[in-house]
């Protein structure tokens, strides 16, 4: 950080402290509200949802071969295949939003061309694992699912539209240095089992209590900790067998977790936390691979957690907890602008989403606050679809790669399609 940055921060902190009307009851309520919101996240979403998701994101970035994916987006790739790969590869390539733009530029200038590049640019930030998991947990599985499906489907459409609009302008291809794929150490199914065991832990640990106390969903809920434990066992087996994790610490962790579960059956969070601590201990002391996994998990946590913390505080301050009117912005305004499911509400949400900058994952608490203040479900989805893919800063970078005309066309397509998707979703959930 440069010195004049620090000076600016200091001066603005001083001006804020000088002028903010802390004795106003509305400001006091809003500040309190931001901490309620933070507590809500800390209690409900961090340990069971975010932490496992960070581990999965770390595993993806270390163990999924990016080189293998890039093969399908290179200059020689089959067109049809490259659209499909571009639309879904965001999940494995773009856990960190800073990798999206270079990859986009690469696919456009040296690889498969503007169609797949636009598809990737659109879907990449929207369907990363962390974003989908947190959306589903906080905003409900319908929005989470709609976000994932919407992002993939619209990636295709936007990619194709861009390719058709600019079909005459394919540039000459440049020579590309393709990443050299290392020899895979494991078979694909082994990696898949390992990832699946973690996804299983994530899904079942977060299984919500259904409304009625019978039926299949409730049966799953009632046994969810046993199922989670079984996935934990599978996970332990995979890391010892295929990732050279040391056997003794792994077994000790397993035994400790089991004992804790027997002694404190009413405190699943304690047991879960002990399990996580055990995993960190085992991976830190075992092979190079497990170390790099835990390191990359940590670097994601370090990068994303502070942003999310800030996002939750800001959302709580501006909008208040869902269902209250304690935020600094009155609920009436939100309901008037983006309530219901009108064309205007969806369009407005798309435009705001496209221009506003959301740091990784912060769109989730913000949309949660907006929904609580009376935003319709359709506009919420529109905001989620248009939001992470674009922001004013990223538009400027995209413009330097594509030129002004193509950038404007791309932005218009995103806004238009997000509006339509929002209206459709709002209509379906009514």
């Amino acid at each position: 950080m440069k010195d004049w940055h620090k000076i600016l921060i200091l001066i603005s902190a001083f001006i804020g402290a000088y002028f903010i009307p802390f004795d106003s009851i509305n400001v006091q309520k809003a500040i309190l509200e931001s901490f309620y919101m933070l507590q809500d996240y800390a209690q409900k979403h961090v340990l069971l949802c975010l932490v496992p998701a960070f581990f999965i994101a770390g595993a993806i970035s270390v163990f999924v071969s990016q080189a293998a994916v890039m093969k399908y987006l290179g200059p020689a790739a089959n067109k049809c295949l490259s659209y499909s790969v571009a639309s879904v590869s965001g999940t494995v390539l773009a856990v960190c939003s800073c990798t999206v733009l270079p990859l986009f530029a690469g696919i456009y200038r040296m690889g498969a061309g503007i169609g797949p590049a636009s598809a990737f640019l659109y879907s990449g930030p929207a369907i990363n694992v962390l974003a989908i998991v947190l959306s589903a947990k906080v905003l409900g599985w319908q929005i989470g699912l709609a976000r994932a499906i919407g992002a993939v489907a619209f990636a295709y459409v936007i990619g194709l539209l861009m390719a058709v609009t600019f079909r005459q302008e394919e540039k000459e291809k440049q020579a590309v240095v393709m990443p050299s794929g290392d020899e895979p150490k494991r078979k694909l199914w082994q990696d898949t089992v390992y990832m699946a065991s973690m996804v299983g832990i994530l899904v079942f640990a977060n299984w919500g209590k259904p409304m009625e106390a019978e039926g299949i969903w409730y049966a799953i809920y009632a046994t969810k900790w046993y199922v989670t434990g079984l996935f934990g066992l599978l996970f332990g087996y995979t890391i010892v067998r295929w990732f050279e994790a040391k056997l003794v610490p792994t077994v000790i962790t397993g035994v400790v977790v089991l004992l804790l579960a027997l002694v404190f059956p009413r405190w699943p969070l304690l047991v879960f936390a002990a399990g996580i601590a055990g995993v960190v201990w085992v991976t830190k002391t075992s092979s190079e691979e497990t170390k790099s996994w835990i390191d990359s998990t940590w670097s994601y946590t370090l990068m994303i957690a502070p942003l999310l913390l800030g996002g939750v505080l800001v959302a709580g301050f501006l909008l208040g907890m869902p269902g209250t009117d304690n935020g600094i912005i009155p609920s009436g305004w939100i309901a008037a602008l983006v309530g219901g499911n009108s064309f205007f509400a969806n369009f407005f949400a798309s435009v705001v989403g496209a221009f506003m900058y959301f740091a990784t994952l912060t769109e989730v608490p913000i949309v949660q606050g907006l929904l609580g203040s009376g935003m319709g479900k359709g506009p919420a989805l529109a905001l989620l679809l248009a939001g992470p893919a674009l922001s004013l800063p990223s538009m400027l970078v995209i413009r330097s790669i594509l030129g002004t005309k193509k950038t404007i066309v791309f932005i218009s397509y995103v806004i238009l399609l997000s509006t339509v998707a929002g209206m459709l979703f709002g209509w379906m959930t009514e």
Binding site: A67, C98, S299, M303, I401
Partner: protein
């Protein structure tokens, strides 16, 4: 000798820069490190994935963080 790190400035790129610096110092060679952060310049190297490492304008590795040992071998 000129070492160039290609990347937009995220955590991975910083890590690679540190490793490259350490490697060059251990190998005891004269060097300067340049961070290339402009996407269009990165593209001019023909690189699609960041962080990447180039030595004297030649791309040596793409899309991964090399360890200090690995970079020493390249130097």
């Amino acid at each position: 000798m000129k070492i160039q790190i290609l990347g937009t400035g995220c955590a991975k790129c910083i890590k690679l820069t540190e490793n490259a610096e350490a490697a060059a110092k251990e190998a005891g060679i004269e060097f300067e490190i340049e961070k290339v952060t402009d996407i269009n310049k990165i593209m001019d190297f023909g690189v699609m994935m960041t962080p990447s490492l180039a030595i004297d304008g030649q791309v040596k590795s793409v899309g991964k963080i090399l360890s200090v040992e690995e970079i020493k071998k390249l130097l």
